[in-house]
Symmetry: C2
Subunit: 365 residues, 2 copies
Amino acid sequence: MSWEIGVSDLGALAVGAAILGTGGGGDPYIGRVMAEAAMVRHGPVTVYSVDELAAEQWVIPIAGVGAPTVLFEKPPRGTEPIEAFERLAEYLGVTDAFPCPIEAGGINSMVPLQVAAELGRPVVDADGMGRAFPEIYMQTFHVFGIPGSPACIASEFGDTVILDRIHDNYQLEWLARGITIRLGGHSFVSQFPMQGFSVKRAAIRGTLSLGLRIGRAVLAAQKRHDDPLAAVCASADYAGYGPAFVAFRGKVTEVVRRTDGGFAKGQVTIEGVGQDKRSCATIDFQNENLVMRQAEDIVATVPDLVTVLDSQTGLAITTERLRYGQRVAVVVIPAPDIMKSPEALGVWGPRGFGYAFDYREPVRP
Amino acid sequence: MSWEIGVSDLGALAVGAAILGTGGGGDPYIGRVMAEAAMVRHGPVTVYSVDELAAEQWVIPIAGVGAPTVLFEKPPRGTEPIEAFERLAEYLGVTDAFPCPIEAGGINSMVPLQVAAELGRPVVDADGMGRAFPEIYMQTFHVFGIPGSPACIASEFGDTVILDRIHDNYQLEWLARGITIRLGGHSFVSQFPMQGFSVKRAAIRGTLSLGLRIGRAVLAAQKRHDDPLAAVCASADYAGYGPAFVAFRGKVTEVVRRTDGGFAKGQVTIEGVGQDKRSCATIDFQNENLVMRQAEDIVATVPDLVTVLDSQTGLAITTERLRYGQRVAVVVIPAPDIMKSPEALGVWGPRGFGYAFDYREPVRP
């Protein structure tokens, strides 16, 4: 069933998308401002489930690429997502494409809503990452062999570059990243244009609903003075995700961070409190949280979602905001099966990030 | 009048184009191999003068961009120029575009000949640089306000990137250079697509003929044991160039070189012999020779062509091949008027390369 998402939902979506961002994906703030402005002018957006899509319907995933931090130093002009989307549609000779998220986590949850509102189109309740990931090819669309090109990058000056025929999706990432760097470190990119039958085969379904669901649950729990962590876990048991659980509670005692190859890499150490007292957890991150260990034992790894939440409010703490002394809870949300096929794990399992071990199921306390 | 250029002309063109390269533009060798292979398969190429072009005829300038040195370490696959040319033509919906040089000097004199031979099209006897220059926007096409985009870059993998709508030609250079770096430091680019009426307005005419003329004169002088320097000067008095003159004769005594921002920058010092004895000349270069001084006096500056030739053979010595002890002659070929309008000097006069002085007429000995 299609439903509507409006201005009053964006607050909850921002909260939920930040949690799905697993430490990365960027704070949804700027994206929310852009989507909200479009919705104020043009009204709410209709959300289509993947089931409702016609097999021939063109869908164009759209997102920001690059360092989200740049967005705060140099906010977008605001027209870039529309231009990237429309120019690629025009290039393809398609006049009624639906926007779709690339990435359900973080700021990119909002970008397709802006495009959908401005163009008066529905948005598709699905994405290619099911969370946040650092590189463009880390999408189920890639896992299922869909070509990422033609793709279109738009700049704040109205420049458009069409990545026309690119021999594979790694090269697409490499070139799009290079162009993005030349455009100042952030850009908006439309890519993996496809029709409904491909979306049905390759998309991670229901992830826009999931973000909204989690955000609403957290806000409702805050209002009722209930436990927001329990609300996250209960609401995340949806669309094939979960069952989620609180893996650790404690206090941030150390954060090691370095910028390496354009990524924020590092590790956070959390000393246990309550039932986790006298224990210690660490989380490795590369923009997003990758591997959580307790003592030396691996508790959870990519692609399962390891999120660090403020233990009082249930709000996500992105890796760049981790600070000594924060009281946090680590919530693990197991990813759906489509993200854990052998082919998918080949792209974003631990080895895809340079670890020498395979994906393993998360260990519940 | 149209005429034909065939395999047997490429040797002379390589010699002449290297002289027009004014120390840069790359050794024509690899380009010559590619053009020769195409001509052996498909026959000679018809050369059209600008006068013969129909006003509506589409023309697409095509060239290699990046470090010519990379071409020797990693020779092209050979299909890149055709793909860059044909993909842009297809994008424009044009089926009979003529290739045209961007750059008459160096390796890029050969690239349009390969494309013309393979596609069975005429080549246009004109270019946008009238010599060699390091940056894409340093073309009369830019000086006359023609947009460089849409442009198309092709890689050895068959990747094509369309620089679709780029707000100015400096941004085109910036993005094309960035993509070229990601493609390994060299690529082939079609750009400034235009129709005959624009070519007639903005092109530097007769520069393919000029290269061939100079090369033939040098080879003929070598054969007859005549003075090749006199042959260069006499033959370069053509198409609005010249009158050329030998500005200095001497021995290379010092070469200072540094790589700065992707450019080979430096200075060569030449101690005089013969009538220049007890005098000393220097030439500053940035890939190409920019400014020649004798003692402290400026003798010639960009855009006039300052070329360093082997004084025995009359062959050009590119800046990367300058060595202590070489016996050389500096030949100055004044550029044609179209390259010295106030607008043109704003792009490639001395100030365009960071000097604090204006263009001045060359000083004859």
